[in-house]
């Protein structure tokens, strides 16, 4: 699909503005009724998904050209998919796919956001988007007694991802994840310095070629370690990586044969099987923040190829074959909650916007790089929501969320606890090694 393929969606967008809010019937508190951070922050309709249908339609008609202003509208968007979920309550449209393809088009036409260029250069030169050197990639695991799937045999490969590999503040989470797996007797190894970026983020920015390139690389790597080390499962603690491996590679037809799990799913399994026992009581009132890429964007891809048609003698629009829409319902929502519920003493309160209609942390879609103030505003909104439901701490399951929450809390002097789910499990399981 290219952006022009969504012309019918552009035409049918009614300007109902549902894309700006969480689905109405699920609003629990009107202070927290907005779903789209971009529309909430930047006011103008163009910033909402519906507005982008309008802009695309105008572009298609030749009424406007791509310019800096349009790029700003397109890129001040977290690509978090809240709009997509809300729209589909009402319509058979694909706002998120459209926005994705629109970004790809901008890139294809050479309209690139300068702020993104260092990260893209870093990706090309160093296989990561954190402006760091390739050689430093394995540092996070230094001193960690864990197998290397490049030389050892292991059933499970723990994929750290760029953020955990390079963000020293977050190393303890990645290390804790490995500890927990080991403690449960999982035969786990890592790729260490031989990892490369999954390129999911680059894809969200519109650099589809990068996704193709890295998807092929990852597929080859996984095929190799499957063969040489006997790896059959990839576990990642990064939600971005998860959705890239699970969803995007599948979308572009470059899915690996290796099973892809998010750490929350794997921990849930280990706890259910009794291989991990969170025994220590954590006396804490927490709320769980659904990472977009684990939740609605972690829903498996649904391949559909066909045509739109109208049955003879009537006007209703149908798909042949019938199309199942991704409505966010099959994201990973329960596993993290089940893991948290298994920890004694932990009180889990839900925020007003959860699961499919969770509010983004602000780190998505390249915003954290290009418009850090917007990323922090978005995070501050979320932290306020966490406070509002009486949580002492906000727990996520993605390093990007945690990073953005930490940075934001530092600026706003918010004292709320910010955890990754893995850290809490580690505490509850108690003792290391």
């Amino acid at each position: 699909m290219t952006w022009q393929d969504f012309i019918h969606d552009m035409q049918r967008c009614t300007r109902c503005s549902y894309c700006k809010y969480i689905p109405w019937r699920l609003i629990r508190n009107f202070r927290f009724s907005e779903g789209c951070p971009s529309a909430a922050r930047y006011h103008w309709h163009a910033y909402a998904a519906g507005g982008k249908f309008n802009l695309a339609y105008s572009l298609l008609q030749g009424a406007i050209d791509i310019n800096d202003s349009l790029l700003e509208v397109v890129y001040k968007c977290l690509m978090d998919g809240s709009c997509d979920i809300a729209c589909k309550v009402q319509q058979d449209l694909e706002p998120l796919q459209h926005m994705q393809e629109f970004r790809v088009e901008c890139v294809a036409r050479g309209y690139l956001l300068p702020q993104h260029q260092p990260y893209l250069r870093s990706l090309r030169a160093e296989d990561n988007m954190l402006l760091r050197r390739r050689e430093e990639r394995g540092y996070w695991a230094e001193g960690l007694e864990v197998k290397r799937v490049t030389s050892d045999k292991a059933e499970v490969v723990f994929f750290a991802g760029c953020r955990y590999s390079y963000d020293q503040d977050l190393w303890p989470v990645a290390r804790a994840a490995v500890h927990l797996l080991q403690r449960a007797g999982v035969d786990v190894g890592i790729l260490g310095a031989d990892e490369a970026c999954c390129a999911g983020r680059a894809y969200e920015l519109g650099y589809e070629g990068e996704l193709m390139k890295f998807a092929e690389h990852q597929r080859d790597t996984l095929a190799t370690v499957a063969r040489t080390a006997g790896v059959h499962t990839l576990v990642t603690a990064c939600s971005d990586c998860y959705s890239t491996f699970k969803v995007l590679y599948d979308k572009i037809g470059k899915k690996s044969d290796v099973e892809v799990c998010h750490i929350t799913q794997y921990l849930e399994r280990l706890i259910q099987e009794g291989r991990l026992r969170p025994r220590k009581s954590l006396d804490l009132n927490i709320t769980y923040h659904d990472p977009c890429h684990l939740g609605r964007l972690g829903e498996p891809w649904i391949h559909w190829q066909g045509r739109e048609y109208k049955p003879v003698g009537t006007q209703i629009w149908l798909h042949d074959p019938p199309k199942r829409f991704r409505r966010g319902t099959h994201g990973v929502y329960e596993p993290p909650r089940n893991v948290l519920k298994s920890i004694p003493g932990l009180e889990l309160v839900e925020m007003y916007r959860t699961r499919e209609y969770a509010w983004c942390c602000g780190a998505g879609g390249g915003v954290i790089d290009a418009y850090p103030d917007f990323a922090q505003w978005t995070a501050a909104e979320r932290l306020e929501e966490a406070h509002e439901v009486g949580a002492e701490a906000i727990v996520s399951a993605c390093p990007w969320c945690k990073r953005n929450f930490l940075d934001t809390a530092a600026i706003t002097k918010d004292r709320i606890g910010i955890f990754d789910l893995v850290e809490l499990v580690e505490r509850a399981v108690g003792g290391s090694e």
Binding site: T2, V104, E105, V107, A108, R109, G110, Y111, L112, L113, P114, Q115, H116, Q117, P118, R121, S122, R124, A125, L131, Y203, G206, Y207, E208, G209, E210, L211, M212, K213, E216, D369
Partner: protein
Amino acid sequence: MKNIAVCMKQVLDPEMPLSLFRIDPETKSALPARGAPPVLSPFDENALEAALRIKDDEKAKVTVITLGRRLVRAVVTASLAAGADELLLLEDASFNEFDPFLTASALAAAIRKRGPYDLVLCGLQAADTNAGLVPIGIACLLGVTCLTGAREVRLKEESVVVARSLAYGYEVLEAPCPAVVTVTYEVGSLREPGVEAFMSASAKPVIVWTAADLELEQAGMAGGRTEILRMEVPVRASRCEILEGESVQAKAEQLVSRLQQAKVI
């Protein structure tokens, strides 16, 4: 103050997956790939780094010159972000990046038109054609010395000194300025500009000239002298066989015999 011109070419991303590579049979040119924007040729980035290192040590003005039919601003302004002082874009639909003569003519004309210069730095070759002809053409047209394959470049009062890579070492050459020098990757990767450098780069001057500005027509240079007969995506077939064997030694023996059969060794 020294004036250094650096010629940098915008090329299709050489790391782009083959599956995205498309050729337009009509124009016999590569099509821009969806989701894979062009990049600056990596060799030319080395040339810019060489220029910036000179500028690190002495007062110098670095002008980057890029030629193309349609240049992507965010890509070419990376040179400014990295530290170049000005960017000169030669942009015209009549340009053909695959015609070294035309390209060299245009670049030479631009260099001359822009004013006095001490040094012209180029990458060893372009990452798309790998031809390496343009720098020599520029030198010829400007009537100056051309030194190729430099791993290090230094400027003296009236001359340029380069260390030129050889198979088993290097030689040091000196030539009077102005001169054209091509560099190898050994010069070092281009320093990575940060986000702020990219944002502030937009304040630096960008000059755009067309073929008409360069008066190529008048000089009889327009149109170029290269004809592309065919352009194809190479078909790469590979077959992978896994040799079975009891031991490493057995496998190695099998491998040697197979390689001999294939007349590889």
